[in-house]
Amino acid sequence: MAGSLIKIDEEIVTSAVATITVGGANWDSSYDVYMVKVNNLTIDTNGQNPVIRFLDSSNNPVTSANYNWARKILKSDASFGNGNLQNATLDYFVNNGMNTTTGQSASGILYLFNFNNTGEYSFYTVEEINRHATGALQGLQGGGVLKLAAQHKGVEFGVTSGNYTGGSVVLYGLKK
C-alpha cells in the first residue's frame, strides 16, 4: 500500500553552515499540509538560538515583520513559561540559547498549512525539544502564522549567531 507521508526534500549537515533550507527549488506545491522533521541540530556558538523563516515564491526567506507566534515552554528544572511575539521578523525554533557541549542538540516536528494558498496566511505548528545552555531539558509547544497572503515554498533554519555543525531537516508532504 502506498503511504501518505511523502519525502520532498532533505538536508543533512556535514560541515558548518549558517542556514539549512528545505523546499525552495525542490518545493512540491501539490500538498495542502506539510511536515518538517528536525533531528539533532547542533551549533558551534554558545548561547545561540536556532530560528526559522519561511521562503517566498522566489525561494528567498521572508524577513519582514509579519510573524506572529505563541508557545508554551516546558522545562524539566523550572516552572513552565509562555512565549509570544507579534510582528516579528522570525520565529525561534529553540526558546533559550543552546551550547556546544555533547548532547546539546535540538529536534522537533513542524506542520505547515496553507503554504500554497495565495489568498490565505501561512500557518504552522511547532513542537521542539532540546537541552539548553545549563544542560537542563527544555522544549516548546506552539504555533504561529506568517501574515502574508502569498505562496511560501519552504523553511530556512538559521542561527542567531554562528553555524550549524550537525543534524538534519526533512520536508514531507501529506498526501490525500
Binding site: G3, N40, S76, L137
Partner: protein, 169 residues
C-alpha cells in the same frame, strides 16, 4: 509512491502491569513515532516510559529528565517535571472506565545512535475524569549516549494496552 511513515511493529498486552516493545529501533530510521491506540486500565493513573538498551535490559537508572503540560478542561493547566528521574513520567493519563480512555502520539529521536542522547516528544488526549478531559503535551530525554533498541510502558495495571510503532524515513 511509497510513503515515508513506515509501520514497524505492533505490541499489545492483556492483564499486564508493564509492556515491553523490543527491537523496534534500528539504523534504518533516525526518528520514530508510536501511537497508543487502545488502553483499558484497572486503576486510574498514568503510563510512564522507560527505554530498553542494546542488551535488552530496561534502563531504570536516574538518567531521565522530563516535563509535561496537562491541559485540563475543568481546571487550570498542570505542570509535571523532573530531573534525574528513573523514567519519563505521565506520557498518558488512563482511567478505569473504558469509554474515558483516548489515544496518543509520540516521537522518539535518535534512539539507535550510540553517540547521541535519546529525546522524546508526545501528546495525548483522554482520561476523561469525572469532571472532564485531560490532555498532555510532553518532552523527555534519556541523557546517556547509548544505543536504545526498544521501550517499556510501566506504572499501571491494564486490561488491554496496544501500541503501534512507525519509522519516519
Amino acid at each position: 509512491m511509497a510513503g515515508n511513515l513506515e509501520f514497524i511493529k505492533s505490541a499489545s498486552g492483556t492483564s499486564v502491569s508493564t509492556l515491553e516493545v523490543t527491537d523496534c529501533f534500528s539504523d534504518k530510521y533516525d526518528v520514530y513515532a508510536f501511537a497508543i491506540t487502545k488502553v483499558d486500565a484497572t486503576s486510574d493513573g498514568n503510563i510512564d516510559l522507560r527505554f530498553i538498551d542494546s542488551g535488552g535490559s530496561v534502563i531504570s537508572d536516574a538518567e531521565y529528565d522530563y516535563a509535561l503540560l496537562s491541559l485540563i478542561s475543568y481546571a487550570g493547566f498542570g505542570e509535571t517535571k523532573g530531573t534525574n528521574g528513573t523514567k519519563i513520567e505521565n506520557i498518558m493519563r488512563v482511567d478505569t472506565d473504558t469509554e474515558k480512555n483516548g489515544g496518543s502520539i509520540h516521537y522518539i529521536f535518535n534512539p539507535y545512535d550510540s553517540s547521541s542522547y535519546t529525546f522524546y516528544l508526545g501528546q495525548s488526549g483522554g482520561a476523561v475524569a469525572s469532571s472532564g478531559l485531560i490532555g498532555t503535551k510532553a518532552i523527555g530525554v534519556h541523557k546517556s549516549a547509548e544505543q536504545i533498541t526498544g521501550f517499556q510502558f510501566l506504572a499501571g495495571s491494564y486490561d488491554t494496552l496496544t501500541v503501534n510503532v512507525y519509522g519516519v524515513k
